[in-house]
Symmetry: D2
Subunit: 498 residues, 4 copies
């Protein structure tokens, strides 16, 4: 991989100096404070997201990516050819297949530790795809996007920052191109160009971890034509850039944490995050513009991003591990862990979970090199991985509920446990097999609720379906990559058709 | 069906007089007030459940059973041989197969109207099973339970009351019989017998609609032996009987209604209800005791109840209709209703839903008569119905989420719509195809959230799995009813085995 | 139902006299002899199909429809309003829902007795649909088709004959209408009209039981337009009419019966039959023409036929019973019948099989009356039944193979059992649990082979997929019948959309 | 990997000289002639299997493994550390993960070329497992099995011979250990030991490719105890050793090739092979005995063999490629390739096929080294691969039949095409879209029949289910490898259980 140092004349250097290098999960959490971002949740402006009880678990989940780099550097740290230093793998451009293999291991491990979406993959995969697409543009269009990109990358690597990727536009009428929409803002676009940079307006939907990030890279989400040139724009902005508004998305059971206590939330410590980001003439200096009008490269950017990102859904196997473990624990507490139908359901859950894992790992091992020197997951197998993810977690969740029993959705609250009239009754009647504390039984059931019908079901189920493209998007790719004519030739030869 | 009028010497007649006959949904709601029941929710005693915003939607859902009797008497009203008057079908003992067919139609229609569990089926099916089991006991044990039962039935029919059935004991260690449990209260049992009646102690879990009922019939939940005689007890008590405590179960997103507004709840008007009921030496006069010690009849009571009740899950096809309609509407709003993969998914959802319906209806048409004159659903087909219900709603829900899109779980709240800074942004960027109001799009997505990962997913998914017995319970019955030896004979004959 | 006796002036009466009334399975088999039909199989003209060892099992299967009428008249015989006499139910027009219920029972029972396709349902369902369509045409077009049809029906009923239905044209290029095909014969059509009758040319594919029938009713297979008038033709002809050529279809393992012995065939006695029928200017007197040019009625004929016929696939539940029994026997012989995973697989097979049964029965019970007085199965539920049949037998077959073990496809032949060098070795080493004869074990495995990968897999699997329309045909109907707008209204109401 | 040359004093050297080194597929076929083996098929002794039309296609399939080594050495040839020469990969001990990756590629490619089982994998995987197990025995028991094994391996490598693995005993009563069976021969065992070697008696079932092999390695198939010492025996014998009898297994449609022509067979050139092998006091010199009494190593031999062999089922993805291609061709011929439901089914087939592939490849990439220096596939992922193979080919086959249409099982024979009366009719009426030859359409449909309900369905379906262990065998391994306690710890930590 060719590496170029950051341009010392970069006008953004002052800005960079405002980001102190992060060394620990605690540093990370501290780094998010005092940014005065415009964040709304439930109709109110949130002054300090870090301290908001509904938002905080999502910050905790992301912070685990820092902890893992300390505790398990062999999977979570890589050597950067850009800086020559070790960097968090979330900021690393895959330089060989092994990098993608380790990325998958890291993602499963973080899923196991958090039981939710830790939000840092979109940015990682955006960096991966931009490395090669900026390179290709420079080769073919005499631009200097790749150097700008490497400079930017070096800066975030040195400071160990969180970069989010922002891709999904609102899209409005799905049957129309960006320039055909009645409202031009339904796709993010350039509104003005000055000597210093560009201004962009629009919105990005379902932005995973955006409020918890330091930088946002925005990119187009669809194939673009000549008429859509102003929509062919890629750039990086600080998450607290002027002109940005965040409207935090509601999640199932999001406010349960506000009821007090730690049990009812199921997983009180960790959650995912998605928000809607509105861009109102946000300024981007040219040093941070990585595409501006090269509409022909939007398609390859999207396609490369999906090759990386559809394999990233291997993280759900980590959540699957948690759910298998929770179901097994629930069965144990009920005294039925040895029942043959229970054991068989645990096997089925494991089988489905490992099938996802296998497809992700295979897509990593079969990675290939792009002209820029970046390596990319095998496209067919990455799509197979994601397609498995759109189905199997739902069945795993159903089986977990089957094993858990109906109490999962009819159980008294933690407050009823604390109430002196009812606490004893709840403890008495929720007893499982001898030696098991009723409260432990409640905690495990709440975790299963959390992951199958509560807050983290958002990430385990619905985002498994729609993240990185809905099932039909994978089917289109699988169809395109299926080499049907070759297969027809095989069949004709064996059938004796000339 | 032989009918006997209520005994004029019944000591409970004064009690009955306290129940005013109910003529309308409004009467019903009014009838629930002022009962001073001991109900806890989120650690607090609820003085008047009728006015509690989290509880009220469940009352509204049950009230629809009264409305339907007025609007669609051809399915929701039957002629009672006990009183000689028309009665709400929920209080009617099936007198022929057509009664069970109409019951199924009524249940689907109520599912369509409420999109949730309307809570009145357990009681209906308890009445159905007790009719024949009390009759059998009287024939064989010279008891007079059947007359007592008919007298009770006549009273609730005349007053048009809600009767709940209470079956599921806490069970403790599932590998032990009731009398073997370390805590005898883990199954409901008789603690004392006096000249006037009996006293019972224990608890019943997952009690559907109990707080919204006038009367509760408690019954054993497992096959019992000689040693479990004190657990072989059936009786009817007013829902506000002294000694009863209710602890209201938490549901996914239960408190969302407290955030204000009507959109975020998804289905603001209707919900289900389950609570834990604790019995602390509750008195039951003999007139309302329908089994006391006849342990040998516990098994047939449980089995008959499941034959009725597993077919009752046809109600979920009504919810399925709502979800198919919601998904089709979401697709329409997104401008993709005509896409072939969308149409195909709607067909798949419909196919699964109608397969459930077919099995329920077949179990009704193939009903048979019991000695008491009551008719009962075909046991095999009722179990087939329920077993389909443990699988298909999950797949229907997955497909609904697929069609809906990820916005379902990342959408801003209703309050953000009301906030003047963000309201316009939300409206602008959540636009679908031209001519569609963004707010309507949000409402439909919230309904899909409600039914697949929110409050009514409790009823549509998890209770579909566990209500009336978990999947394994059906598999045991299917195995028992499968006439394997007959089938082996068929195979041997065709194979030429002597 | 209005009944008119046969017209005494019918020019076809002499022909009818050549058919002796059939009273027994033996009579039936005898009645097929000496017809000098032009039947080809494996490139040779078959002089007497009745004596051909490959064809005979299909005749035996059809003969069981006669046996059942004798042994189980309560399901297999009906009272004909046309003749006023009892008739075989295969010749009966359903006069109420109960007739359709009994039809389904008869079909399952015949499946249980034969383990294959008994071939008489297409004709039965053709008669059912023509009753009402001829009636409708007469009402609206002043034709006399219905009287002709009733006269024909009376004759076949009196003589107890087998009537086959011939529907599926070769179709050529599926994107073109009949009149647009490069070869006009790719759909059956009228080539000439004389004073006595019409002449038709073309072919019908996959004709179930045609060689084993006495009469053939041909009908259009697609919706037709004004330009296709010559294709809008329905008529009845003797199976041995001049101008007819039959080319017998190959089936998996069809010639295994020629290897000698009875074991390897798996089910030596019974099989299905399909052949290609070529019509070369076949004459049809007007008395037997039931449509000639009324193209607008082709669609309703096809649609009514499918409502009847898609429910007829309930017969596969009879085959399912055999396969469940065979798998249970194989497990018993292997000494593993009690293993929990074996029992669970038998339950799964039963559950799938009964789900099919439930949908068929429900479609019968919910039948409705047509203007002619004929009753017809519920269209939605009949399509649900058939759609289940396109999936579940494949899974049942897979589970049967799972239980059976791999020996199913690696087992020595019956001749090796007879050979004196190898016979003892085979017996010695194919021993299962003590007390089981190795040869019995072989027989049961051959039956499972027969039904899952051999001759009767044709009927149990592939015809379950394609008979009465391929899966996509059902999906189109399910979509059309799904009342999507009503369901959208339900959803909007609950979501609060105006 | 430590390599030792063959012992020059090996008493078997004369025997080895009788095997001429094989250089081509033609050499291989020639090498099978004149061996005077005792082979029975359909009750007759087959003098020369090479010339038997039913057996020959299986020899052709195996011969392709030689052709591939010439045409695609990069996947089918490896460098042997034993001989220092290039060897066919089927004779190579995996020396790193890449060897296992290339093995999988080779297997898929051979599946694509033959559309059937090419029979050489069992021997390859037996060699792989014996390498390490003999090593372990020598280390721990002071035996010299490993040196013997390497000497044997060097000989077969130098001569490029086919080695089959023989594992599955008849087993008799599955609930009893070998020594408990009423007939001791139901598991292969040592009957005598002399100074020169041992004698073994028993049988091996379902022996893939045995008649087509030069050498047979027999091994135990179950975990053994002290009492089963005589059953703990591994050795190598020539396929034509005295005392061996082969009874060739019947396959669906096996004799269709005897009807003449090439079309009806579907795949006239290639098939699989399984036979029953009876051992009657077969002598094995000590040089070729690799275990004799070390019962404790039977379990690890079986387990290692399954780790290799369950991943070998990746070959079925090659067959899947053929079937996808055949279905696409059939759709093309019918003029419906562009229909959305057809395209969607092709995607589903591809998705399922690639999911199998991914799991096999992942198990190869994640291989690990054993003490002997041999590398072995990841056990969990190999079991996942095989478990997928027990399900997905059945669904792929169902979808192929769906796309193909019912003609697949009702089509006239090739002989009817040749007959001058019927040939023209068949051609005329089996026409698809313009420009397609009816005969080509027939050929493709016969191929689909062959793979889904005919001769090669044996390999594609039933052997996919049972080869290398039935589904339950994988479930037991998956359960054992699932690290449930670790997963419970994850869940407890997130739930807040101490």
């Amino acid at each position: 991989m060719n590496v170029t140092l950051a341009d010392p004349a970069d006008a953004t250097l002052t800005l960079w100096d405002s980001f102190t290098p992060i060394k620990s999960p605690e540093d990370y959490i501290e780094s998010l404070r005092g940014r005065h971002m415009t964040v709304y949740f439930l109709g109110e402006r949130i002054e300090e997201p870090v301290d908001h009880p509904v938002i905080r678990p999502s910050i905790n989940a992301l912070a685990e990516t820092y902890r893992l780099a300390i505790e398990r550097p062999e999977i979570a740290v890589a050597q950067s050819p850009v800086t020559g230093e070790p960097v968090n793998r979330f900021l690393h451009i895959p330089g060989d297949a092994q990098d993608l293999v380790l990325k998958a291991e890291m993602q499963r491990e973080l899923g196991r530790r958090t039981g939710t979406c830790f939000q840092r993959c979109v940015g990682m995969d955006a960096l991966g795809s931009l490395h090669s697409v900026t390179y290709d543009m420079d080769q073919e269009c005499s631009t200097d996007y790749h150097q700008r990109f490497l400079a930017f990358l070096g800066q975030v690597q040195k400071r160990n920052l969180v970069v989010a990727g922002a891709m999904t536009d609102p899209k409005g009428d799905r049957s129309k191109a960006p320039h055909e929409q009645s409202d031009p803002d339904l796709f993010l676009h350039v509104t003005q160009r000055t000597d210093e940079g560009i201004y962009v307006t629009g919105a990005k939907m379902h932005q995973t971890g955006c409020v918890n990030s330091h930088w946002i890279i925005f990119m187009p989400t669809v194939r673009l034509s000549e008429n859509d040139k102003d929509y062919a724009v890629v750039g990086a902005i600080p998450a607290h850039a002027p002109g940005l508004t965040y409207i935090y998305g509601r999640q199932s059971c999001d406010t349960r944490i506000l009821d007090g206590g730690n049990i009812d939330a199921g997983n009180a410590q960790f959650s995912g995050q998605e928000a809607m980001m509105i861009f109102d003439n946000v300024f981007v200096p040219y040093a941070h513009v990585f595409m501006d009008g090269e509409h022909a490269y939007a398609a390859s950017l999207v396609e490369r991003f999906t090759s990386y990102h559809r394999a990233s859904y291997v993280c759900k196997t980590g959540l699957g591990d948690v759910l298998v473990g929770a179901a097994a624990t629930a069965a144990d507490y009920n005294g039925v862990e040895g029942a043959s139908h229970i054991r068989d359901k645990l096997v089925e859950m494991t089988y489905l979970n490992e099938t996802i894992y296998a497809s992700a790992k295979a897509s990593a091992y079969q990675a290939s090199e792009l002209p820029s020197g970046a390596w990319i997951s095998d496209a067919m197998l990455a799509n197979i991985c994601k397609h498995n993810v759109t189905r199997f977690p739902y069945e795993i969740a159903r089986l977990a509920q089957d094993i858990a029993g109906g109490l999962l959705v009819t159980m008294p609250s933690e407050k009823d446990l604390e109430n002196e009239e009812t606490g004893g009754l709840v403890r008495k009647f929720l007893m499982g097999r001898d030696g098991i504390d009723s409260v432990d039984r409640m905690k495990i059931l709440r975790l299963i609720e959390n992951m199958t019908i509560g807050r983290n079901a958002v990430g385990y189920l619905t985002e498994s379906l729609h993240g990185a493209g809905s099932p039909q998007a994978q089917r289109i790719l699988i169809s395109r990559l299926s080499k049907l004519e070759d297969k027809k030739t095989l069949a004709k030869r064996l059938a004796g058709v000339d």
